[in-house]
Symmetry: C2
Subunit: 201 residues, 2 copies
C-alpha cells in the first residue's frame, strides 16, 4: 500500500495518475465523499459521491479504513475495493491527507509506504492554487491555510519529493516503488528460492 | 553508508564497481587484509595488504569498524578513510560479508542501507566460482561452503537483488540508492526548506 499526501496544489494528482498509468499492477483507492462533484469528475473514478446520510451509515457500519470531515464535507476510504485489489496481488495507491494517513497507518499495520509531495516554493504553491479558477477566493484562502497545516505533517512520511519538475519527480517515484518492491520483507518468494539455491536447483 | 554482501560468485564486485563509476559522490571503503594479493590487485585500491602483525596491531589500537578472520586470513574495515569520506559528504560503500555487516550495524547505528545479492541459481553460482581459474579445487570447495553460510544470512538485509542480468540488477541498485536518498530522515535540508515554504519564500 502506497500513500501519497501533499498540500493541495503540490502536483500530487498529476503524479499519482502518471504512476497508475505506468503500472498495470497498481490500483487507485477511490475515496468516498459528500462534497459536490467538480466539473469533469466522474462518480466511481474520481470519487464515490454519496450523501451525508449515506456516508454516516457507512461509518456506522465500519465500512471505512479511514475517514475525516474537512470543510463540512466527509472524505473516506471504503475498505471493500482496497481488500479486493490487495487480494488480487495489486499495490493500492491512496491519495489521502495526513489525517487519513495516520488512521491508515493504525489500521494497516506495517506494510505501508508513505510519500509526501512538497511544492518547490510558496509562490509556486499559491500560483498553482489560484490556477484552479473554479474555486472562490474564500475557498482558496481556506485551502492555503489547510496547505500549511498539511505541510506541517511532512515528518510523518517515509519519503519526501519536492515537485519542481514533473519528470524528475516521476523518476523519484519510480525509484521508490522499485526499491520498496525489492525490500527483503516484501519479496515473499525469496524464502523458498534461497532454500532451493542452497539445496541445489 | 551502503553495505553490499553476497556469497562469492554472485556478481557483487561487478555491480559495486559499476555503481561507484556512476556516482562521483560515492566512495568505496577499502578493506585491509592479510591475504596475498591476487594477480592484478593493487594495494590501496582493492585492499590494503598488510602483514598479520600489522593487522593485529591495528586491532589492538581500535582502528577497525569491523574485522573478522576467514580461512586463516584477517579482513577488516579501517575507520579513518570511512570517516573522512562521510565528512566530505560522500556515501560510503562497503563490500563486506555478513559478519562485517553485523559488526558495522552495531558500530554505525541506524544510517546503514544493507543490500544482499543472490545468484540466480546454484548451478550458476558453481559455474561462476569455477571460472576463477586461479583458485585451487580445495579453495573452490571451501568457498562454496562459505557461500552457503553467507546465503543463510540473507534475512538480515534491507534489500535483496537476484543478480540474473547485470543491467537489471544495476537498475535495481540505482533505484535503491535514489529512493534511500529521498528518505525523509536523510534529507536534512528539508527542515529549513519547509519552514521557508510556510513562512513564504
Amino acid at each position: 500500500m502506497i500513500v501519497l499526501s501533499s498540500p493541495s496544489g503540490a502536483g500530487k494528482t498529476t503524479l499519482t495518475r502518471k504512476m497508475l498509468a505506468e503500472n498495470s499492477d497498481m490500483a487507485m483507492s477511490v475515496s468516498a465523499t459528500t462534497r459536490k462533484p467538480r466539473k469533469g469528475e466522474q462518480d466511481g473514478v474520481d470519487y464515490y459521491f454519496v450523501s451525508t446520510s449515506e456516508f454516516e451509515a457507512m461509518i456506522a457500519d465500519d465500512q471505512f479504513l479511514e475517514y475525516a470531515k474537512v470543510f463540512d464535507n466527509y472524505y473516506g476510504t471504503p475498505i471493500g475495493p482496497v481488500e479486493e485489489a490487495l487480494q488480487s496481488g495489486k499495490d493500492v495507491v491512496f491519495d489521502i491527507d495526513w489525517q487519513g494517513a495516520q488512521q491508515l497507518t493504525q489500521a494497516a499495520g506495517g506494510d505501508l509506504v508513505k510519500i509526501f509531495i512538497l511544492p518547490p516554493s510558496k509562490v509556486e504553491l499559491e500560483r498553482r492554487l489560484k490556477t484552479r479558477a473554479q474555486d472562490s477566493d474564500d475557498v482558496i484562502a481556506k485551502r492555503m491555510a489547510k496547505s500549511e497545516n498539511e505541510i506541517s505533517h511532512w515528518t510523518e512520511y517515509d519519503y519526501v519529493i519536492v515537485n519542481d519538475d514533473v519528470e524528475t519527480s516521476m523518476e523519484q517515484l519510480r525509484a521508490m516503488v522499485t526499491a520498496e518492491r525489492l525490500a527483503r520483507k516484501r519479496q515473499l518468494w525469496l524464502g523458498p528460492f534461497v532454500k532451493a539455491l542452497v539445496q541445489g536447483g
